[in-house]
Symmetry: C2
Subunit: 575 residues, 2 copies
Amino acid sequence: MSTYKGFEPKWFQGEIPANSYRSVFKWGAPEKIKAPGERMFRDVLRRFGIGDETFHDYQQNLGLDEVKFDIPVLLADEHIAALKAIAGEEYVRSDDYARFSVAYGKTMYDIMRARNKVVENVPDVVVYPDTREQIEAIVAYATLHKIPLYVYGGGSSVTRGVECVRGGISLDMRLRFNKVVKFNEEDQLITVESGISGPKLEDLLNDAVKEFGAKRAYTLGHFPQSFEHSSVGGWVVTHGSGQNSTYYGCIQDMVLGQSYATPKGVVTTDSHPRKATGPDLDQIMMGSEGAFGVLTHVTLKICRHMPETVCRFSYMFKDWQTGITAAREIMQSEAGNPSVFRLSDPEETSIMVNMYGVMESPLRHLFSVKGMKENEMCLFLGFTNGEKGYSKNTAKNVARVAKRYGGLSLTGYVCKGWEHGRFSDPYLRDTLQDFGVLMDTMECSVNWSDMARVHAEVRKTVKARPNTICMTHMSHVYPQGGNLYWIFIILENDMEAFRAFHASILDAIQRSGASMSHHHGIGKMFGPWLEGQLGRNEYAVIRALKEYFDPDNIMNPGGTLGLDLDEGEKKFLKG
Amino acid sequence: MSTYKGFEPKWFQGEIPANSYRSVFKWGAPEKIKAPGERMFRDVLRRFGIGDETFHDYQQNLGLDEVKFDIPVLLADEHIAALKAIAGEEYVRSDDYARFSVAYGKTMYDIMRARNKVVENVPDVVVYPDTREQIEAIVAYATLHKIPLYVYGGGSSVTRGVECVRGGISLDMRLRFNKVVKFNEEDQLITVESGISGPKLEDLLNDAVKEFGAKRAYTLGHFPQSFEHSSVGGWVVTHGSGQNSTYYGCIQDMVLGQSYATPKGVVTTDSHPRKATGPDLDQIMMGSEGAFGVLTHVTLKICRHMPETVCRFSYMFKDWQTGITAAREIMQSEAGNPSVFRLSDPEETSIMVNMYGVMESPLRHLFSVKGMKENEMCLFLGFTNGEKGYSKNTAKNVARVAKRYGGLSLTGYVCKGWEHGRFSDPYLRDTLQDFGVLMDTMECSVNWSDMARVHAEVRKTVKARPNTICMTHMSHVYPQGGNLYWIFIILENDMEAFRAFHASILDAIQRSGASMSHHHGIGKMFGPWLEGQLGRNEYAVIRALKEYFDPDNIMNPGGTLGLDLDEGEKKFLKG
């Protein structure tokens, strides 16, 4: 039932056939579809300077056909039989759908290939392991026979991290490797199998009283935008980070024990709260993105679930520089860290205030009274967590600093608008892209003293492309700096053109001196840039670890972390 | 001028000859000497069950002789000339005193060797570098000619970390490599040369307004007991931790950039606030204890210096288990972390309340009214830091939890007593040892659920030795557990007997399942235990990094992290 008053495109909201391409590439839950509201749709049209006509017909394949391709299974029958002996007959599949469903992640390049039935880099077989012991046996077997081995966790990689460039085996963790191994309330630790999804883990922790007989409810506090569609293992091996990281920390702050099945045997770290026993093994393994071994068990620190202590806030600052300065002051004042902390640049602010209807509310008048201009002002929103007094003190400090920098309080209302869409906004990607509107993201990590310059330089590159919407925000913040997260929206139906554009942004980030990834990881897509980012001697350390763990290059081979690219591939990928 | 009412031993308080053994082995500042007060002295006698007679004569050499030995300089003249060309003629020394002064650290085994003129493991030459470039040139030269290379930072190692087992070169960083490279107020970062001492750095930060033209004063917040006599480089390469770590974090939480001169070239990490660009290079290098290369520059996060917001507290709990439970609750309640956080076990509590005169105050009566018994009750003290509201909220939560667990508030008075002696108590070691009273420490890291058991098991081993004082406290605390820090005081004049006792405690820690080092590091003394602690496959990763960085084994060779011990040495060292 449409709520549009004017023309509404025929947003695809039909049923998605079970074995179709779309069922693989669509974002998130199979049954969930989201179309833009009229306000947002009109705003996009206005910004592109186009009329309704672009939305009369689909510009892209909807991908409703059944997945079908002709890539032979090259893995020898004896190997397949051996895998079946380990994991069970029915848990080793080599049909087209199983193979394709673990081939791609969720970067636009993946989606566009899937829409166009460009099938490449599928594994020979997909194995659905049940236990850590099975995975250890599979890694040992693959090592012995030099069979490439890949892992598919939640499938939300935006770096081509899961892609089976050399064929072989992909371990699809979703089906069975998703159980709780141990819940330890006294130490506030939970040990899980790496394939457990964000929502499953979080629900179990919230229901710990019922599920584990605990004294109270818990949370992990890790909520990336891909929350619904990502796994603990993926978070850990890519150095992920959730939207509440400013309070709860990034994934590496949460991990207190891991076990990996590697070609050199099982590597397991202990869960002592802290140690001075040589280089930190947990940190050596984290971020290895499957190139050293397969992560099996993870022990995570958990926190008390106290939704009743949340204090929401939102403020408008007169411009970007003022917002940055206030953000820095909040993070350096040692008054407690907010949990969600989002400062939007002028373009993103403009889009958000339109989307949330702020510009149709009495606030519009207030902005003008306060001398705030639509393409200059910056929205800052978030909320606090922690014990009641801590949470209140944090919010009080935010208010104090915001006031000092002339911030106009918009109350918690705008924050609620953001919360409402925080996990569902990515569903818009598919619906919009049917009409050629392509939306993707990039991100980087920046020190305060470089923040304004990096923003200006990278934005200039993005905006150099005609008719490009470029929304930027800061959403993971530290006393020393924060990330910049770029959402770009373009009209583009050619996937190679998209890739070249994407690469040009990465180049701009690297030229600016920012770190090329705050929490998306590197995968195969960003791999060619990594040595340039870290430096030759520095990158050589990662290469040395790879050579130690995986001398035959069977663990996520084909460019992960840029480790085994030849010069030709590097050039190709860098665009 | 004595304040003793009864018999007072002739505590050695004379001048220490400039080139004497004692000038090397004594703790801390050259001119500073500390003798125990009468209360403490009487308490020690009472606990050992001995009379004054043990203190009529010195039981140990005072070490006032000039350092002199016959260990030839084996390094060829051409190499010495080359080092002089790099560092300057007068900054390369091979006299006995220079060589001996960088040979040992501050474990009792070191002190006893020095007292007995047992000189071993001295370098051929000592170089006093001035710049990072000089150190890089020296590492390159040593690599080319396969000359063993050691580093001496502050000299407070209690793990034989600095000992030049294979001769060669020792870089003494104290003299010249101690400058500030860059102060960045906007990002709250300071970059220093690794030889800078704790007090020098802290003073500069506290005086940042004057020193750097900053807007306000800063602190690093890193105050190990060895503060006066340790260096930034030592903290970083051994994974050090200060007494305020519960608020400010351990050293690895403070480091945001490092540069190492390694046999494989210079490895420099960037200072972005966070990144997802493969395994964390900072963490790979930290904890390497000189075995991968020489740390040159360090970039550290700094915090605002706000001494005016400190809230002191001290409480008495009725027993150890109650204290542990309250400590855990404080750390898991998410109300802010105290900065100093010390929970003493009954034996330590008993010694402290006597030392601070608590048992001669009206509190003694109150303890008895509250049913608290001297050999059961546990002292908990500390203070908070941070912005005023944060600091107050943290202290409020401490008070709330303490009350819930029946803690008796002793106000901030006892905490001030502890603060008064926090850096000077180690000076007592030398004075007492002249009479054969030997004081040393061990520590480990433990989860909450193991805390009481590990304490009981390790304590049992320590107390199995007749007449042994064993004080234990928890002083670095996390939501998942904390450390246990053991101070043992024994009557012992034989250094091999000491070493066997020390080894038996380490064995007990390892058997108990605790981590064998929370923040002392491993060095050469604990090296033989490391593989057993981490596991074979896990330890092999550190070995692989060593083989990559230093294939000729010239960086801190001779057992650092247990990397190049043969089985004979292992057995010998394990006692």
